[in-house]
């Protein structure tokens, strides 16, 4: 083991005279600040400042494609416009539909898969890996890939549906139909992210010690009772955590849906983030889209906060 003091002495003698003199004059607290400063500066520059700047822009008529136009303060105009705009409400509704159903399906299927795979059976590690594959793909790949699966003439999805129901495969278009498209994106997101929910639920189920379930068994609880009064409540904090992660992720869903439907047909799958991108980078209404971003931020932040409070309450038990 090297002598710590010898190392300290060597470091001291190697420090240039001027630096040593300055450092010696500093208190421990200021040295601590010096070490933290780079992170703080970085955070301020790329996180805090843009946020504040967005708030400022949301009150102006600034457009990023016309940087030289005089910037005028428009007050709460954009907020008024957004909250009374039917397109924005449609986008919010599409988002709510998407978030609600993806979470519901992913939680139900994910938890069921976790419950099944938690029993030790031959090759359960292999199957776990297989199930996790969709999650490891890039959303862009998934979007393009499902575009083919949904193809009415040659797509596997339509073929499988027709195989089981007898409906001719080319009689429906998952991505082209106003009624089916919102469900098409729910199906793809569920396919992709159920494994993730399963993984978190599996961690929850594994956290229940065997002896608790053994005690319930000796206490003559039925399987049904064991599940409802032991397994589910004890795994609940994990399930809620999975719901939180998926909820936040899907609220800002962009890439997969953009590649799959581009928001269409019409604007049926135009989720909030897609609408936002259109306003910001196609219509170049920077002020308007800033206000929209702020509204989205407040909504997500508020919902997440309420949810985390509930989660903590469950976890405390």
């Amino acid at each position: 083991m090297p002598d710590i003091e010898a190392i300290a002495d060597r470091a001291a003698s190697a420090t240039p005279h001027g630096v040593a003199k300055v450092v010696r004059g500093l208190s421990d607290r200021s040295i601590a600040w010096l070490f933290v400063a780079p992170t703080m500066v970085l955070l301020l520059a790329i996180n805090i400042f843009p946020l504040i700047w967005t708030v400022y822009l949301s009150f102006t008529n600034f457009a990023s494609n016309r940087p030289n136009r005089p910037v005028v303060n428009v007050g709460l105009k954009w907020y008024q416009d957004i909250l009374s705009s039917p397109e924005i409400w449609a986008a919010m509704q599409a988002t709510a539909h998407f978030v609600f159903w993806t979470i519901l399906f992913q939680t139900l299927i994910g938890f069921s898969l976790a419950y099944l795979i938690d029993r030790k059976f031959r090759g359960h590690a292999f199957w776990t890996t297989i199930i996790l594959i969709p999650m490891m793909l890039s959303p862009a790949v998934v979007g393009n890939f499902w575009k083919f699966l949904y193809q009415p003439q040659i797509g596997l999805f339509n073929y499988v549906v027709s195989f089981f129901t007898g409906i001719p495969p080319s009689s429906f278009e998952m991505l082209g139909s106003v009624t089916l498209a919102p469900w098409a994106i729910v199906i793809v997101d569920t396919w992709m992210w159920t494994p993730y929910v399963m993984l978190i639920c599996l961690a929850g189920l594994r956290s229940i010690p065997d002896y608790i379930l053994e005690a319930a068994e000796v206490d003559r609880a039925s399987r049904w009772q064991q599940f409802w009064s032991i397994t589910l409540p004890m795994a609940l904090p994990f399930i809620m955590l999975a719901v939180l992660f998926r909820g936040i992720e899907n609220f800002k869903m962009f890439d997969m849906v953009m590649l799959l439907t581009g928001g269409g047909p019409g604007s049926t799958t135009e989720l909030a983030s897609i609408a936002l991108k259109r306003q910001a980078f196609e219509a170049y209404r920077t002020g308007y889209s800033s206000a929209f971003a702020i509204i989205l931020f407040v909504v997500v932040f508020g919902l997440a906060n309420v949810y985390v409070k509930a989660l903590n309450k469950v976890k405390q038990r």
Partner: protein, 339 residues
């Protein structure tokens, strides 16, 4: 209440044999304690009876019925786990009420309330009923775990070191409490411990386990006074029995074939004067316990520990004379030879 009968029961985990060919009958209303160190197969024996493990060989009867096809629930046993096994998300009240809410035993809320409150006051946790199970001290958790077994009237109580994590004071209170409960209910109880005091004070009979084998079964007196072999002899007695080669007390009369002398403290007579058949020893150390003194002695190259009166004026380095009175003798194979 019911009797438990194990016939030649064996359980292996991979290459290790946890329980080997155990024959044991726990009679109706009996309090049997299984005693043995860690890894002796005590817990596995309980788990086999509860149905949480299946025996590889042998048969198990509960109340005269072959238990092999019965699930843990059907066996109607109560199990107190060493790790408490409380349901962490439930209150103390709900933990105690849980077995009563079982579909086979569905009771109305008023009966449940009455039963839970009776057991809670018996275990002195009635003030904690609304607490979360995880917001209790170790002793309280253990009492809730015991309470969860007591709210039911199972055919047998199985207890896996239920007092091991309590402090000394609470442990001795709970020892008495458990004995009273067992006697009042007329319960059949199989209790596992590595604590010899628990075994001695509570058991109707003690079973001593060694590496999965049941070495001896008998009343506490029998086990203490007539241990079958050296292993059983070392399980009981405080301070533990002194094992000395027969040659150390060459002058004493001994049964033929004796290779080892087992001298408990009451077998060792410490004297200041030489009386014919005695051996000379030196005082190494004295521990004062108040009512008694622990005397650490060396007899030639052998060490032994015994108890003496605190008013016996001895100090470190003193020479004393030792003689034996009614010691135990063991043959070269470790089996006891009757004197």
């Amino acid at each position: 209440m019911a009797e438990i009968r194990l016939e030649a029961v064996t359980k292996n985990f991979g290459d290790t044999t946890a329980v080997a060919n155990v024959d044991l009958t726990v009679r109706d209303g009996e309090f049997v304690v299984l005693l043995g160190p860690t890894g002796a197969g005590k817990t596995t024996t309980l788990r086999l009876i509860a149905g949480l493990e299946k025996p590889d060989e042998g048969r198990l009867f509960i109340g005269g019925r072959d238990a092999a096809p019965l699930s843990p629930a059907e066996r109607d046993v109560a199990f107190v786990f060493q790790q408490y096994s409380l349901y962490p998300h439930l209150s103390v009240y709900e933990n105690l009420a849980f077995p009563l809410r079982s579909p086979v035993r569905r009771r109305d809320e008023a009966t449940i309330r009455k039963t839970v409150e009776r057991v809670a006051s018996m275990l002195r946790i009635e003030k904690k009923l609304q607490n979360r199970a995880t917001r209790l001290s170790g002793g309280e958790m253990q009492r809730v775990a015991i309470g969860r077994a007591l709210v039911r009237s199972p055919s047998i109580y199985l207890m896996d070191e239920p007092l091991s994590s309590l402090d000394a004071k609470l442990r001795s209170d709970m020892r008495l409490e458990l004995q009273h409960i067992q006697r009042d209910l007329g319960a059949t109880m199989l209790y596992v411990t590595h604590d010899q005091i628990e075994a001695m004070t509570m058991a109707t009979r003690i079973g001593v386990l060694d590496h999965g084998r049941l070495v001896q079964v008998g009343t506490p007196r029998e086990i203490y006074e007539a241990p079958r072999n050296v292993y059983v002899a070392t399980r009981l007695g405080m301070p533990s029995i002194n094992l000395l080669p027969a040659a150390a007390f060459a002058g004493q009369p001994m049964p033929p074939g004796a290779a080892t002398i087992g001298a408990r403290t009451e077998h060792v007579v410490v004297g200041r004067t030489t009386q014919g058949r005695s051996a000379a020893a030196k005082v190494d150390w004295i521990e004062h316990l108040g009512d008694q003194n622990h005397l650490h002695l060396s007899l030639g190259e052998h060490k032994l520990v015994t108890l003496v009166d605190p008013d016996m004026a001895l100090s470190v380095g003193d020479a004393v004379d030792l003689s034996l009175k009614g010691a135990l003798y063991f043959g070269a194979d470790g089996e006891r030879i009757a004197a």
